[in-house]
Every structure is written in C-alpha cells, then in structure tokens.
C-alpha cells in the first residue's frame, strides 16, 4: 500500500523577480515500510519536496496524497490536524521545545492528540529506551548533545504512531558517530515497528543505509533505485 503518492508535483518560487522551479514535476510513490533517502545537491529541491509531502507547504501544481487523503484539498486547520495525526517530523535542528524535558517533549504530541496518561507513559518510556535516552529523560534539550536531541526528536515523531516520518537532513548537524547511532535507531524502528521513513541527506554514509535512494536534480527525479542490503 502506498503511504505517499504524488503526481506531477511542482513548486514555483518567485524570488526577486526570477522564477525558481524548486520542484519540477515529481511523481513518486512511497510504500508502507520503506526506508527511503531523497538525495541530491544543495538547492535540488529536497526540502521543498518533503515540505509538500508533509503538508507544510502548498504545491503550485500537482497532487499529494498521504494515506489516500489529498492534502491540497485540506484547509489550513485541517492540515495542522492531519499532520498531528498522521505525520511525524524530524527537522535538521530546533526540533525540541527548550523548556520541556526530553520526556515531556516526546509526550507532547500525544498530549495534543488527547491520548490517555497510561498509554502516554508506556509509549514514552518505550521510545526513550528505544532511542537510548531513558537515563536522560529528565534533561532539558540544552543538557543533551546534538545527537541525543535528534534521537529525542525521532522518539517524539514516533510517539503518536504516525503513518510515516519525514526527516529533512536529520544528521546534518551531527558528528559521524552520532549520525551512525541515529541511523541505527531509525533503521531498527523501521524494521521492528514497520514505520515508514522518508529522509533527505547529503551524507554518503547515510545514503548507504537507505534501501531506496531517490536522486533529485534541479527539482526533477533523475534516479530512483532500490538498494539490496
């Protein structure tokens, strides 16, 4: 089953009078359980594409369906709600709420969803263990390393059991060891829980871990290959 389906997705930016076609006719399907990397040089449109798939940005043209729901037809508030219920996000940085502890950050989205306390507690603890932060549950983000923060962000994104997780350069600010740990965790969750991951990256070591690599060049898909591991 396809979690994501896009058709001829286009995004046009008009920047100081010049048009930039950041995403130019992208049609891509992502199936449940994929572990897919979007790669390509800087400015190739990775972020723009992920934003549209994640319902953070409106396409200029084309269609995006997530779990058979056409995002372009949702209102602003419906989109927020849709994101809350279906999509987990891991950004490059500023993922966490600085005034909350790691535990509370992970719990936060579940709270917004109105899950009951017991369920929240079990899930948060389970995820903190899974990402290896259990002993730092009470730390605020400022007391965590960059890699630990990203792991908390992954746990946060996973907490409400979303359809899939979008991660835009999740390792960009991490040293290679932390990056590798984060990738291990993502991979494990992908395999154990069957969570679909869609992430963008520049990093060859990250690309090597993906099972499908989609290459973007100037907003177009120029390569799409399944990697055997």
């Amino acid at each position: 089953m396809n979690v994501v389906e896009t058709q001829n997705l286009e995004k046009l930016f008009i920047d100081a009078g010049t048009e930039v076609r950041a995403v130019d006719g992208v049609s891509i399907n992502v199936e449940e359980g994929e572990f897919t990397a979007i790669v390509g040089p800087s400015g190739s449109g990775k972020t723009t594409l992920l934003n549209m798939i994640g319902g953070l940005d409106n396409p200029t043209k084309g269609k995006v369906q997530v779990d058979k729901v056409e995002l372009t037809e949702l209102s602003k508030n419906e989109l927020i709600d849709f994101r809350l219920k279906n999509i987990g996000f891991v950004f490059q940085s500023y993922n966490l709420i600085p005034v909350l502890t790691a535990y509370e950050n992970v719990e936060f989205v579940m709270l917004l969803q109105g899950r009951d306390p017991k369920e929240r507690k079990a899930r948060v603890n389970e995820l903190l263990v899974a990402v290896g932060i259990a002993d730092k549950a009470k730390n605020r983000p400022s007391k965590l390393s960059g890699g630990q923060q990203q792991r908390v962000a992954v746990a946060r994104a996973l907490a409400p059991k979303p359809k899939f997780i979008i991660a835009d350069e999740p390792t960009a600010n991490l040293d290679s060891k932390s990056a590798s740990t984060l990738l291990d965790i993502m991979q494990q969750l992908n395999e154990k829980e069957g969570i679909t991951f869609l992430f963008s990256t520049h990093d060859q070591r990250v690309i090597d871990r993906a099972r499908r690599v989609v290459t973007l060049t100037d907003g177009k898909i120029t390569e799409d290959k399944i990697v055997d591991v």
């Binding site: 940005d57 927020i80 994101r83 950004f91 600085p98 005034v99 909350l100 936060f108």
Partner: protein
Amino acid sequence: MIAKIGWNNIWRKKGRSFLVILSVAFGIWVGLFFGAFQWGTFVQKLDDIVNRELGHVQIHHPEFVDEEYDYNFPIQNPDKVRDVLKNDTSVSVFVERSIFSAMLQTPRNQSPVLVYGVDTTAEQQLYSITSMITQGEMIAGRRAPSLLVGESLANKLNITLGSKVIVQGGMLHGVKSFVGRVRGFYESPNKMKDKIVIYVHKSDLDTKLGDGFTHEYSVLFNDLDLLQSNKKRLQSQLPVNQVLTWGEIMPEIENGIEMTDQVMFIFMLIIWFALALGIVNTMLMSILERTRELGMLMAIGMGRWKIVQMIFFETTILTAIGVPIGLFLNYITVGYFGEVGLDLSVANAAIEGFGYSTMIYPAMKESFYYQVIFQVVLVSLISTVFPAMRALKLKPIEAIHKN
C-alpha cells in the same frame, strides 16, 4: 502541558518577564494611587466646604440668591422651615444664619463682604468658628457687635484688633447698617472665604438691626448619596422657599471635581497606553525570539488556538503576579500618605488660590480596586492580542528554515 510550556517560558527570560510584571504592578499602583488621591481631594473639598460650611442643601427666600444675598430677602416662614427640618428623619443637622452681602467700611478703605450672622454654638455641629480664631475673640452681647474678620481681609484693609467699622447691607433694596468692632481675626482652610466672610453673632444682629431675620438654613443629611431625592422632598414640603444643593450654590466646586476627573482620565489613558506598549513590546519580542520554536510546534501539529492559549497564559500569569505587587505598593503608599498627607501647596499654588486645603489625604474607595484591576487586566489582555496575532501569522516552514 500548554500551561507548563507557558509557565517555563516566563522564566526563560527573567528580566523581560520582570519588566511586564513591573509594568502591571506599576499600572495598578499608579492607577489606584491616583484614584485614592482624587478621592481624597474630593472628600477633602467636601469636608472643607460642604460639610463644614455650605451644608448639603441650603434653604433661602426664592429671590435671595438672585438678589445677590440682599438683606431684604429673608426666609418668610422660618417657623415652618424649622418644623419641617426637625421632623425630617434624613436631616442630621441644620443651622440658622443671617447672611447678607454688605460693604465693610473703615475710615480709609472699604471692601465688599459677606456677613455671616451665626450662632457659634449651633454652628459647632458643622464646624468650629472659634477654633479658626488666630487672634482676639468673639464675644456676644457687647455694645458694638463683635466682628470676626479673616486675616487676609484685615491685612488688605489695615484693620487692627479693636477697629471700629461700618457694615452696610441691603444695598439694593433698602440699606441696613450698623457699627461693629473687630475683636478677632480668623484663618480658614478656604483662602477665598477669608477675604470675604466676616462673622458676627446672630443675636447681636437681631438686637442691632431689630428684624430677627434668618436668611439661610444650612442642612446636613445623614446620607449624602440621597442628596437629590432629599432635596426634592424638602422643596416640595417648602414650596415658598428655594432649596439648593451645594453643587448648585457653588458650581465651581462641582466643576473642579469634574475637571480633576478629566485630568485623571487623561492621566489614566497615558498609563494604560504605556502599559499596553510595554506588554505588546515584550510579548512581541518573546514571540519573535521563539519564531523557530513556534514554527516547529505548528509543524508538528500544535493548533493555532493552542498557541494563542499559550501566549495568553503567559501574559495572564505575568499579570497575576503584577497585580498583587501593585496592590501592595498601593497599600503602603496610600496607607502612609493617608496618615501623613500630601502637601500640594508647593506643587500647585493654583489649588490654594481656589480656596481649598492644600493637604491631601489619599483615601481608597472599594470600587477603585475593581475598576483599576479590571482595567489593568483588560489592557494587558488586549495588548496580548497583537503579539498573538503575529504568532498566528507565522508560517511553519519559513519559521523552521529561518536561520
């Protein structure tokens, strides 16, 4: 959790939060203090002039006031008036006076005066005339009636104790005059009055002029709030007389109070404006600083309404901390100045010129608390609308990717 985020946000930038708390406290404090100040001034004026002299209402011959307090327009039916006042349960005190405008003449000078023919003992119920005496005395029953003259008038006319003067009243409708002797000087809180009013015993006047006229009944009620209805009732019971409230007799006092009201209002506007500006500014700063964070919150699915809630929660907490501090500051200052008094003579010579006491004792009224707290809370909530709207305008992607 929203509350927790809001709460923790407050302590993130302590200096800034402190600033908001301080402006709220300051708004409350200044607002209340000026309210108390104004009320104190009002009470003082009432006390100086109304309770101690004019009375709440005065009863005259209907033409007496129009004829400029002419001696020849006394109360036609003093027995009836006395009767009505005695039997009216809302009346707490009333006194009879023989008041008329006159010329005070010394061998060299003259000056228009208002003669107050009073019974000093009866007047004691309103105010003590004898305690205002700075020099000399005021003894009844002397051959030439004893006169009590304001210090400033005495200075102006070069009157010394023991001077003989001619008092000539009833200028317009038949002159009545007598020779009196100045036997005392007085000074009252009302500087204007000191230049105009001279006191004489009513009994002396009665003997000297032989008419036994009463020109004025000055009445105090038990409850000043019922002034208008009490006035109406007395007027209907005494149709041949004229009943006037103190405001009608001295509109300048009422106007003065209204004027302070307006000054106060403008002053409060400035305070509220400053408060609003402070809150808008700090909250806006706090939101702009958190652009990325708010963008992230919106991206991961925190609805706009929740964001607005969070921002309002923050101002509400800051306000809730500021209010008691303001109340406390007010409690201390009003308590202190309420005892000691504020001397305005330096700051405002104009007030003195008006004829009021220059010592003001700030006094609180319960309704001030509700009013000022309500206003401050309202202002701070309204000022949060703008920063909150600003936060709502944030687009999650732009917010996240802003560097």
